[in-house]
Symmetry: C2
Subunit: 150 residues, 2 copies
DNA sequence: TATAAATCCGAGTTTATTACTAGGAATTAA
DNA sequence: TTAATTCCTAGTAATAAACTCGGATTTATA
């Protein structure tokens, strides 16, 4: 039950945009290069993010993308849900899905509901800003550790 | 990020076996019929469950399967992990997976680790016995509700 | 105003995974 | 001995994931 590249690449893109927040638009090509991903593929991912109000775009030369809101106002869950849909482990838990005929009798569904809830708790509690902070923490720690070894 | 049929059908099978616990072996055909699933497909799922010590089999006529342990000693997580592998949302979190080259710098990985942990907490806290109890609760509630309406 | 750098859009392709089916050997109760 | 069952492996069909490609549109800038 692995997150598809949509969610994973999408999070990487958004992290990149968060790191660049306040510094103007960033082109898809730049994002793709930094993350070693295909820019033609990323197009398909950034489009829904834009349509859902998470990023703004500027067309034309020197154009690009930037976060539509400050990084602390965008949760990992916002990104994931746009690109992957809900992370529920079974269709019967999804809101828009018609209940399966034996919903009342289905004890596995209770399990799926609990899993869904716990996943949502995590992804809605972590913002892009948190990830940026983690990024710098990891980076600094690593740099320090490396120089200590030398 | 939906659980595949392996995990979902597997849980249904194990719930069926848990409901039948202590009443002798149950044939795959019976399980499949009760759950309206293909018995030839379920063969592929029960085989690893047996090899991992979750069910015992009796071959030959009148044979079948039964839980290898009481339902309260088998967690949903045991079943899911045998059939789906770990529920981690990205490969980099798996134990046996080599770390990705930028593990130290990767802020998305921290997110995946938290998701994994929260899923594991849920699936390892719910036993087949809990699901059996839920099954009867749902069933009774529903029967009562139905008769009240009539 | 021409050009190049971008976003935007949809159709198509390739690859991988999922979800099975089929056939037959081995086992065992009746 | 027969019928019911597990066990095993190979194959196939269907679906989804992961992209590529071509071209239209927009816009800064030389």
């Amino acid at each position: 039950m692995i997150l598809s590249t949509r969610g994973r690449y999408g999070l990487k893109m958004m992290l990149e945009l968060a790191l660049n927040y306040g510094k103007g638009a960033m082109s898809l090509k730049d994002i793709a290069n930094k993350q070693s991903l295909s820019d033609t593929y990323l197009e398909h991912l950034i489009s829904p993010l834009r349509k859902n109000g998470l990023v703004n775009s500027t067309r034309g030369a020197q154009g690009g993308y930037e976060l539509a809101k400050p990084p602390n106002e965008i949760k990992a869950g916002d990104v994931i849900r746009v690109l992957e849909g809900s992370l529920a482990p079974a269709k019967c838990v999804l809101e828009d899905e018609p209940e399966c005929s034996n919903a009342d009798y289905c004890a596995t569904r209770l399990l799926y509901e609990k899993i869904t809830e716990s996943i949502n708790n995590v992804i809605d509690s972590i913002s892009l800003q948190d990830m940026v902070d983690d990024y710098y923490t990891l980076n600094n720690t690593n740099v320090k550790r490396r120089s200590e070894n030398e």
